[in-house]
């Protein structure tokens, strides 16, 4: 035993190669395997039915300490080219300029990082603002309670 240790101790750093192993299956899967469960909400902004999805995990901290929560936005495929942008904001937007975080990425499944309150009162609403290519604006909201995850 002692001899094995004497001979093998300088090769122990080879164990570092084991570090990536548990992450490999997830890495090669196009979708995360061990993702937390999803929370879904259906809303309708004017003519556009939308499904919002978020992971059931607590909001994360941004660089200046603010809380951010990622939401995925599913439009009907037929609506994708009618919609210019989808914005998410906690609280009713004051104006189109301040409509909140813009959904980006895959047009079939846009994602938006929304600033959320650190201490929610439980009465907040998540507002969805859809701007279509005609320049028209449609809004809808859903309670934030139960849609923040991680509780």
């Amino acid at each position: 035993m002692r001899k094995l240790w004497q001979r093998g101790k300088f090769h122990l750093s080879a164990l570092m190669m084991l570090v990536p192993l548990p992450f490999l299956p997830n890495y090669f899967s196009p979708k995360p395997i061990f993702a937390p469960p999803e929370i879904r909400r259906d809303v309708s902004a004017g003519p556009f039915p939308i499904t919002l999805i978020t992971h059931d995990e607590a909001p994360h901290r941004g660089v200046t300490g603010e809380r951010l929560k990622e939401y995925h936005i599913h439009l009907r495929p037929a609506d994708i080219d009618k919609v210019r942008g989808v914005f998410l904001r906690v609280g009713k937007p004051r104006s189109l300029r301040a409509a909140g975080a813009l959904g980006f990425g895959n047009p079939y499944e846009r994602e938006a990082e929304v600033t959320v309150p650190a201490d929610p009162t439980g009465t907040e609403e998540l507002w969805v603002t859809v701007e279509d290519w005609n320049g028209q604006v449609h809004q809808a909201s859903t309670p934030l309670a139960g849609f923040l995850g991680g509780t």
Binding site: K9, F10, H11, L12, S13, A14, M16, M17, V19, P20, F23, L24, Y27, F28, S29, P30, K31, V63, H72, P77, I80, D81, K82, R84, G85, L96, L102, G103, F104, G105, N106, P107, Y108, E109, W133, N134, G135
Partner: protein
């Protein structure tokens, strides 16, 4: 033993002990890094769908986009990447299930030669080499290796004072005992890769500092805000106007005619510009970014090159290019690959020498110090 000699011996012990306890990890990083340098070329060799003959008139981007979207129903091309005349063009497509797929298209015939999903071999090697697929812990573990690397280089040069001899009188006694042979190899390989080890060590140290600064919340971004289109620049229409990729590319090439085209990114959202990335001859390490209004194909701004880049951006780009050897095409990559292999040999031979000699040398020094202490106490 003279004072000078025993000092050299101490340096030698430092040299050995810096690398020995971590040699296997260092070796692993070195080998994966070496392979990562030519990962694109390996993919090209292994996967016929990534090849192109390089002859003939290349098709315009619109034709490539049409071909890709035909091959993957409901897929939407987000960007095109050109890897050179011998490489198929990669079209990154957003798929209805929320994932992305890459179509490999022959740039001349427009034939879609293959589809690949998820992370490529190249990305995998980069992730394995750079952060052990474990972010950010792996990043720190890997880049912290820059410190023993610098130490090994410095102490190695102190120990092997006449290293310059290996430049004009390289001597490897292949037929001698393995210890002698490995020792010769270690010295010659080490001497010839001084510049390379220095480059890798310094750039790795930068990656360590870079990540630490990000985590400490220090500003590391560029001096310029991201480019976006204002709402009043966006046309009103019944449905999304399809961006004219050919007009976008034509504008970019007219702006920088000598540019070697590498990337065309269509707008990610309605408020984003299209982006064309390429390298123009003048500053080979620094790519040019041309942001273009997708609706009228006019240039919004040209970024990159030497103009207007902040010090941190320049450092970031140059450090990365130097680390990966990806700045002068295949010849530079092959040089990086060869020296990467040499560096891996260096680590392996160092370990073999250690196993055969340093353990004993350490015992001797420890004994000598004890004896000296004992005699001075007496």
């Amino acid at each position: 033993m003279s004072a000078g000699k025993s000092r050299t011996r101490l340096w030698f012990l430092w040299h050995s002990w810096l690398a020995m306890p971590i040699w296997a990890f260092l070796f692993f990083i070195c080998v994966t890094g070496t392979v990562a340098v030519v990962s694109t070329e390996i993919m090209w060799l292994v996967d016929p769908s990534m090849r192109a003959s390089g002859e003939g008139e290349p098709l315009p981007p619109s034709a490539l986009i049409a071909a890709a979207e035909k091959a993957a129903p409901d897929g939407r091309v987000a960007s095109l990447s050109w890897g050179g005349s011998h490489m198929a063009v990669g079209a990154r497509m957003a798929m209805p299930d929320g994932t992305f797929t890459t179509a490999w298209i022959n740039p001349v015939s427009g034939v879609v030669q293959g589809l690949s999903t998820g992370n490529s071999f190249r990305q995998f090697l980069r992730a394995l080499h750079g952060w052990l697929i474990t972010f950010p812990v792996g990043w720190y573990l890997v880049s912290a290796m820059a410190i023993p690397l610098v130490g090994s280089l410095v102490t190695g040069l102190v120990v092997y004072k006449k290293f310059w001899k290996s430049f004009y009188q390289p001597r490897i006694r292949w037929k001698q005992a393995p210890r002698v042979m490995w020792g010769d190899l270690h010295r010659v390989a080490g001497t010839w890769s001084i510049w390379f080890i220095a480059v890798i060590a310094v750039t790795s140290l930068w990656f360590l500092i870079y990540m630490a600064l990000i985590h400490l919340g220090m500003g590391l971004g560029g001096s310029k805000p991201p480019v976006m289109l204002a709402r009043d620049q966006i046309p009103v229409a019944a449905a999304r106007p399809k961006p004219d990729a050919d007009a976008i590319l034509a504008t970019a090439m007219a702006t920088l005619p000598d540019m070697r085209l590498r990337f065309l990114g269509l707008p990610g959202t309605a408020y984003d510009p299209a982006t064309v990335i390429g390298t123009s001859g003048q500053v080979p390490l620094l790519p040019d970014f041309i942001r273009i209004n997708p609706f009228d194909a006019t240039v919004i701004v040209v970024e990159g090159g030497l103009d207007g880049a902040s010090g941190i951006e320049l450092t970031r780009t140059i450090m990365r290019a130097l680390h990966t050897g990806d700045f002068g095409g295949l010849p530079i990559k092959l040089i990086w690959f060869a020296f990467g292999a040499l560096m891996s040999t260096l680590i392996l031979s160092g370990m073999l020498i250690w196993m055969k000699r340093t353990a004993r040398a350490t015992m001797e020094v420890v004994r000598a110090v004890k004896t000296a202490r004992a005699s001075s106490n007496a």
